[in-house]
């Protein structure tokens, strides 16, 4: 039986198990004096039976699917007498055998290879049968076991809740393990990069030019991997974005939460949130085609030098993009400040603005800081607008009228190239990713610290 069919059958079995467990519990209750005589509600008996029926079988099925190929491969390769020494050679051989089995190998195959292919097909066929048999026996057997154990004394709810708790724990672990996994994969690739480029050069180098010579006699492309211009570029663009987004977002939040009438609010808030729904590519067009030329012309009319792709254009548009984050989150937080605090301040004779400035905003500050930091991480991670509006030149500059580039943009350009995967050029992307990861981690850490400090003060 094919795996999807088996899976569907298993789901059906689980449903059946729930139904039978439920009705057996009802029957047991009827003979014993009503549902109250059961240790748990009938549905818990149903879920208990379903869990026994489905969970072990599903776990075994998942393990099977994971280890299936490796075991079959080991068996097939074990049966071949003179296999190549190198791993690459073995991979090639196994791929040939697989292709032969699938019937799409062109050319002549040796008898030995054909034997192996037959062996593989055989193993796969019997594996599938074993899988079906094992899963069905496990599912029906354990389901029947749980079904037979149903009695008014059995504490089904406690057992079900225990299993649910383990499932919840597993889900929580999944998120953590994913993070660790991503970190490790980035870390190892970065270590490979740091074997060819020293860490100090990467961290403190002031020149970024990741073009590597493809041939030994190529000129002018020695490659320079100083990440400082990228990080200053990121900082510059993000700082400009935050200069736009934080005041505008915060003030619009204050207006919406404290001053706006119901009607204005019901129109303005959704409109503002539409801004968050605009794809960043569209913001990129806007930045590159409208804002950047406008800034260049404006700067030139004032006698300043400005390139047509500038950090200012990207930062401004990114700031506009982030406004809804800041305003929407702050608005929610400000609304959550209890009315009693406002009443207290107004009752002392504060004006509306004193109430907002001295009571409401301080009370809402932890949430506002949280919203702003979310916006900062969004700004640092933003790629599309910067690609389109700020350019690709890694200039080390603090002049917002010049073109700059950011970490994320460079990661994209490094990985879309056609260089081989283990050249320092592509590996540099991982090192940049690691740096970005570490800096956002530090940022989050600081943010949590700040929020906690204010919480202590304001709670």
């Amino acid at each position: 039986m094919q795996t999807p069919t088996l899976f569907a059958l298993l789901l059906l079995l689980i449903l059946v198990a729930y139904g039978t467990g439920f009705s057996r519990a009802i029957a047991a209750a009827r003979s014993g004096g009503g549902v109250r005589s059961l240790a748990s509600l009938p549905s818990y008996y149903g879920v208990h039976t379903a869990l026994w029926c489905g969970l072990p079988a599903l776990i075994i099925l998942a393990c099977w699917l994971i280890f299936d190929d490796a075991i079959i491969r080991a068996l097939v390769m074990g049966g071949i007498a003179d296999k190549p020494e190198s791993i690459a050679g073995q991979n090639l051989l196994y791929a040939q055998i697989q292709n032969l089995t699938a019937g799409n190998l062109v050319g002549n195959a040796t008898p030995q290879l054909q034997d192996a292919a037959a062996h593989l097909a055989n193993l796969r066929e019997s594996g599938r049968w074993m899988q079906t048999a094992l899963i069905l026996i496990l599912s029906i057997g354990l389901g029947a076991y749980a079904f037979l154990r149903i009695s008014p004394e059995m504490r089904a709810r406690e057992k079900v809740e225990k299993v649910l708790r383990i499932i919840l724990l597993a889900c929580a672990c999944a998120a953590i393990f994913t993070t660790v996994g991503i970190l490790l994969s980035v870390l190892f690739e970065s270590l490979r990069f740091f074997q060819s480029v020293p860490v100090t050069e990467f961290l403190f180098g002031l020149h970024w030019s990741p073009q590597m010579a493809l041939r030994a006699d190529q000129v002018g492309s020695s490659g320079a991997f100083g990440a400082v211009p990228l990080f200053t570029g990121t900082l510059l663009v993000s700082a400009i974005a935050m200069f736009v987004a934080v005041p505008v977002g915060l003030m619009s939040a204050i207006y919406l939460a404290e001053y706006a009438g119901k009607k204005v609010r019901s129109v303005a808030k959704p409109l503002l949130e539409i801004l968050a729904g605009v794809p960043t590519v569209v913001y990129g067009f806007f930045a590159a085609l409208t804002v950047a030329p406008f800034i260049r012309d404006l700067a030139q009319s004032m006698g300043l030098q400005a390139s047509s792709e500038s950090a200012l254009a990207a930062g401004l548009v990114m700031g506009v993009m982030i406004i809804p984050f800041v305003s929407s989150l702050s608005d929610d937080v400000i609304n959550a400040v209890p009315q009693s605090l406002r009443d207290g301040a107004l009752g002392l004779g504060s004006t509306k603005s004193e109430t907002v400035r001295k009571v409401v905003i301080p009370a809402a500050l932890p949430g506002i800081v949280g919203g702003v930091l979310l916006a900062v991480s969004r700004a640092i991670g933003e790629t599309m607008i910067v690609v389109m509006a700020a350019g690709l030149a890694a200039n080390l500059t603090a002049n917002p009228l010049e073109s700059v580039t950011t970490v994320t943009v460079q990661i994209v350009t490094l990985l879309v190239g056609d260089q081989e995967f283990d050249s320092p050029k592509t590996l540099a992307a991982f090192a940049l990713g690691l740096m970005l990861f570490i800096s956002t981690l530090i940022l989050n850490f600081i943010a949590l610290h700040v929020v906690k400090k204010y919480r202590e003060q304001y709670d």
């Binding site: 119901k262 209890p338 009693s340 605090l341 406002r342 009443d343 207290g344 301040a345 107004l346 009752g347 002392l348 004779g349 504060s350 004006t351 004193e354 001295k358 009571v359 301080p362 009370a363 202590e456 003060q457 304001y458 709670d459």
Partner: protein, 302 residues
Amino acid sequence: MTSMTLNAGAAVPAQDKPNSATDLSNKPATESTSVKTQEDIAETVGSPFCDEAKLRMRNVNVFYGESQAIHDVSLDIGRNQVVAMIGPSGCGKSTFLRCLNRMNDTIEGCRVEGDLTLDGEAIYGPKVDVVPLRARVGMVFQKPNPFPKSIYDNVAYGPKIHGIASRRAELDEIVENSLRRAGLWNEVKDRLDKPGTGLSGGQQQRLCIARAIAVSPEVILMDEPCSALDPIATARIEELIHELRENYTIAIVTHSMQQAARVSQRTAYFHLGKLVEVNDTETVFTNPEHDLTEAYITGRFG
């Protein structure tokens, strides 16, 4: 004075229309008392007026949108007097209290009619600025609502925004004085920089009272200030009210009739948005004039 009372009475039939609009919201209460007693509240009995009135309210009507919460209430609150307002939940006593420093302005759709004066100046006059008004008429709320600031800053907040004290030393003095008068100084003097929200419920409420008296108001409005407190904290606050009476005029809303009897000189009984009876506290609790008052204080309803 007598003509005032008559006016107040005469105005009631004219209120028929808005009255019927409130019927829906007041239905449960209406059912518990007969229609006859409902009509009996045609005019306030007792003595709603006094000679040396700090606050003077005449024919006050309050509407929340379409529904009327206060029906034609007239009442005086004398200088350095404690007036208790009692009555069943939803009878409008808190609404009435909030009219006195225009806190109802913050509620959307709330409309106040009638003449309300503080020392003869109209509270709802077109040129009145609510900010100095609220500085003169302070308020303590039902739930303690200290600001999320330090104890010191909580008390110093009012004086700062009103520019009462500019120098630190003056401010320190006001803070200490207010906390002393609120009976909280000894408990908090060593931790003035700790958050006010970290105090116990009773301490928080006394902090709120200290905060209110720090701006030296002339009148203090208290909206069930002890409803969330234990008997010990309540006793301290009642003691405080006794002390405050020497300098302030106090209007207090309370659900506890013992409290009203203990702290006030005059008691006003509200029922379904109408002022039923106002008398000396002793009279109200020993010999009420109105049947409804008697029914309420003897615990027959409400």
